[in-house]
Subunit: 157 residues, 2 copies
């Protein structure tokens, strides 16, 4: 996690990967999205998906998991080098979330983020707004998920 | 769940409520969004939130939980009346998700959905596209979360 001032538009980072097991797909969906194609192997085979698939919210939540893990690693490295590391800021929201292809049990999704735009906040001079384009790509190289994020990032004093 | 042909633009449904316990907020966040203000009561007090808050992805996933529960109840009632009930269709994506206010431990969020637009699919004559505006409102009446959904809905043969 960098200060707003140090972030370069166009910078792209791979955040990490998540392997979607059948067990985790079913557990997430039983709690939050118990549609047949997320919780029942046999019923899923009879749907347009043809097999068990992850809830789109599960795919999205795993992007967040990888983002937080990457930021935590990065912050630890920066602190080890004696750098000052800002807090994570809140997000006012996200745009244009698309589930482009199914995520099947056994798939491994690689998540990435690319900085698209930086805008200083007019009302909050200690923060800037960072717009990023975020993706999830499966082990075959297919883009399965994308969305645009907006997040507050600290400015240097 | 109705057929596309039977859905009225402007129709609004309350989907249900979700009570966010401290335990569930922490469990979800430990798996998918382990930022301090989602997993650590004491650290959360020192952030801009001032107390433990739910991950935005958790707030979103609980909207889905309430939607599926309401559709399942509705489908059972329709089938009990002898009506033909279509399958749930997939969603190509969502737009403009906003986390407008924090969801604190102990909050109860009421979720609702309102039909905004219906468009027959040109490429898939058996489906229509339904656009809806979706909300989460806390026990004080504050809108905490909203987004626009797009979902495929079956047309009558």
């Amino acid at each position: 996690m960098s200060y707003f001032d140090d972030i370069t538009v166009g910078a792209r980072r791979t955040l990490g990967t998540h392997h979607f097991t059948r067990e985790e797909i079913i557990a997430f969906a039983q709690a939050y999205d118990p549609q047949s194609f997320h919780v029942d192997d046999e019923a899923a085979k009879r749907t347009h998906f043809g097999d068990l698939v992850a809830s789109g919210w599960h795919t999205a939540a795993c992007w967040m998991k990888c983002l937080v893990a990457e930021r935590t690693r990065d912050a630890a490295e920066r602190r080890a080098r004696g750098e000052d590391v800002p807090d994570f800021g809140p997000s006012p929201g996200f745009k244009n979330m698309r589930w482009l292809k199914p995520v099947y049990a056994g798939d491994t999704i690689t998540y990435a983020t690319e900085v698209r735009e930086k805008v200083p906040s007019k009302s909050k001079p200690e923060w800037g707004l960072l717009m990023a384009y975020n993706t999830g790509t499966n082990q075959h190289g297919d883009l399965v998920f994308d969305f645009e994020s907006i997040v507050f990032v600290r400015r240097r004093a």
